[in-house]
């Protein structure tokens, strides 16, 4: 689920950074304005809890596999969306810094996929309407599972859109989405079960802690709608000047499919997945023609230049290693 630096273009990474940093700034102001002193240590400790709980697995009944908590939705239920976003952002930042989960440039995208979407979309639009104050236990559990699945599917879609818009990976959006969504449906179910288990446990043990959820005001919903529209607009802005890259990769996918046996191989099954899900049914035929006409975008390579390039590459590596040793010795 973590987006990685290696797959991002600077434009997409930068846009996601701006979106997440702006959300962070707004949340920071809101939390400061709440002026509840006791929120400060509570947020810190709950962040530490999420951090630890992410590493406690539980068995998923009937599958033999295990799942764990993601935390965004649980935090939103316990703290309200703004404070929850700050907490999940801190958790993701520490993971990016110390465990190289995702990376620093991708942090913006990750904050958006795993912070903004659960806290400002899944929580107010799915969890709250499904489980208003005073709901039964079954209802709270159901709402938690639905909201967690919704958040994970949105997040997975975000990863796909960011990857495709960046154009570093050749994965075409249709099959990629067809691959990501079922996986994240399963992860979302696990996350929802874990969230539900914790909320229900807390409701039994310390009803006072979950009884008074932070009210979601209309204003923050309006802000959310604006933010969502903005992001959607920005993303489509990145998608629209790029149909070439996308078409190009799909063209190659489709081209090879026609030359080789389409039923076999990874490509064949990817194409099959795409055909059966029919997310982008009419991409194949015109794209295949493009493939025949289009030349390789790689610049003309002459032999001397590429030999020099090869020697240069090796020499560069040697220099870097030498610099490492030199700097290391100069303690």
């Amino acid at each position: 689920m973590h987006m990685a630096d290696a797959l991002l273009s600077p434009a997409v990474g930068g846009v996601m950074w701006v979106a997440s940093a702006a959300t962070l700034a707004v949340c920071a102001r809101k939390v400061s304005a709440r002026s509840e002193d006791r929120l400060v240590p509570l947020m810190g400790v709950l962040g530490a809890f999420v951090f630890a709980a992410q590493m406690i697995n539980f068995a998923i009944p009937g599958t033999g596999s295990s799942g764990h908590l993601g935390g965004g939705l649980l935090l939103a239920i316990l703290l309200g969306p703004s404070a929850a976003f700050l907490v999940i952002a801190s958790v993701l930042t520490v993971q990016a810094l110390f465990f190289a989960d995702g990376g620093l440039l991708a942090l913006g995208a990750n904050l958006f996929n795993m912070g903004v979407l659960p806290c400002f979309v899944a929580y107010p639009l799915l969890y709250r309407p499904l489980a208003p104050a005073g709901s039964s236990r079954a209802r709270v559990g159901f709402a938690a599972v639905v909201a967690a699945v919704g958040a994970l599917l949105l997040g997975a879609t975000g990863v796909v859109l960011q990857t495709v818009a960046s154009g570093i990976s050749s994965l075409p959006s249709g099959p990629f989405l067809a691959l990501m969504l079922p996986i994240h449906l399963a992860i979302g179910l696990a996350e929802g079960l874990a969230t539900a288990a914790l909320v229900l446990f807390l409701a039994k043990a310390r009803p006072d802690l979950v009884a008074s959820p932070v009210p979601v005001r209309r204003r923050s919903l309006a802000g959310l709608a604006v933010a969502a529209a903005l992001v959607a607009g920005v993303l489509s802005w990145f998608a629209s000047p790029r149909p070439d890259g996308l078409e190009w990769s799909i063209a190659h996918a489709a081209g090879t499919a026609e030359l080789k046996a389409p039923e076999s191989g990874v490509h064949g099954s990817l194409a099959l997945v795409q055909a059966t899900t029919a997310l982008l049914p009419d991409y194949d035929m015109p794209a295949a023609k493009v493939a025949l006409e289009e030349e390789s975008p790689w610049p003309e390579v002459n032999a001397g230049k590429s030999f020099a390039g090869l020697v240069g590459a090796l020499a560069t590596l040697a220099l870097v290693v030498a610099a490492g040793f030199a700097l290391g010795r100069r303690r």
Binding site: V45, V94, F98, A100, D101, A194, G309, A323
Partner: protein
């Protein structure tokens, strides 16, 4: 559960590494943050089939790790642990992109393999640079730097609280899991057991937060987190930032390995 324990041990190691006095840790955290951001943008700005032109950028993480005396083995292990996602996302490229590309005299490769190589190299560059900076700076200095660069105070305070209590709550979680195992718990707990296990950890978290809050009040907390750390920008920091940014610009503008190769082989151009 060994996962939680090993994660905590890892964090502690990173903190220990950062607490040493090295050429890297003496630099102002702001200098390191700004330079690393410039580095990341330079690396990811390349076209997707770029491999060789990215090689000069290896100098930055290598120099950071040397200056910070970061153990290579630690870096390599972290890199390997984080690798599966990048590999997974890139491995489809060789299958989907089969455009032949000439890499050297008479040698052609599928474009997908080249872009896959590019993804792996980008991954190694960005991850090692970030890890080396963190291991040569430490969480407290990093947060001070972030705050000085305009990150909201609430967030840097949150990061420090998280950092402090991850060890406390993580340790509690690890002890709970050990206790469960000592009583015959095998494998992953069922959902019901998990709810109670993690739920109790959550209850302890709430109780601890309350105690911390009272302790903070007793020490005069008024809602504002103050830091006693003062950052001092020295000429050395200016040299660090300016030097590296100049190098990134040069490496981005000039195809350094090719220039070097031409010098070495005598091929004109």
């Amino acid at each position: 559960m060994s996962r939680l324990e090993s994660a905590l041990a890892d964090l502690r190691l990173a903190d220990t590494l950062a607490s040493r006095d090295t050429a890297l840790s003496r630099l102002d955290p702001r200098a390191k943050i700004v330079t690393t951001i410039a580095f990341l943008f330079a690396v990811v700005s390349y076209e997707r089939h770029t491999v060789v032109a990215l090689l000069p950028f290896l100098l930055y993480p290598v120099a950071l790790a040397s200056m910070g005396e970061v153990p290579w083995r630690w870096l390599a292990r972290k890199l390997a642990l984080a690798a599966p996602f990048a590999v997974l996302m890139g491995i489809a490229n060789p299958v989907l992109d089969r455009t032949p590309m000439e890499v050297s005299q008479g040698v052609t490769m599928a474009g997908g393999w080249i872009s896959f190589g590019s993804i792996l190299l980008r991954f190694a560059l960005t991850v090692t640079a970030a890890l080396a900076v963190v291991a040569g700076t430490g969480m407290h200095a990093l947060c001070a730097g972030l705050a000085a660069l305009g990150t909201p105070r609430v967030f840097t305070a949150q990061l420090l609280f998280l950092w402090r209590y991850t060890f406390v709550l993580g340790g509690e979680g690890a002890r709970m899991a050990t206790a469960r195992e000592a009583r015959g718990g095998r494998g992953s707990p069922t959902l019901a057991v998990y709810g109670s296990l993690a739920g109790h950890l959550l209850l302890r978290a709430f109780e601890r937060a309350e105690r911390i809050y009272r302790a903070m009040l007793a020490r005069g907390f008024d809602g504002e987190i103050r830091s006693v750390r003062t950052l001092r920008w020295s000429p050395r920091d200016t040299v660090f930032v300016a030097g590296w940014v100049a190098f990134f610009i040069a490496a981005r503008a000039v195809y350094l390995p090719l220039v070097l190769g031409r010098l070495l082989t005598g091929f004109g151009g």
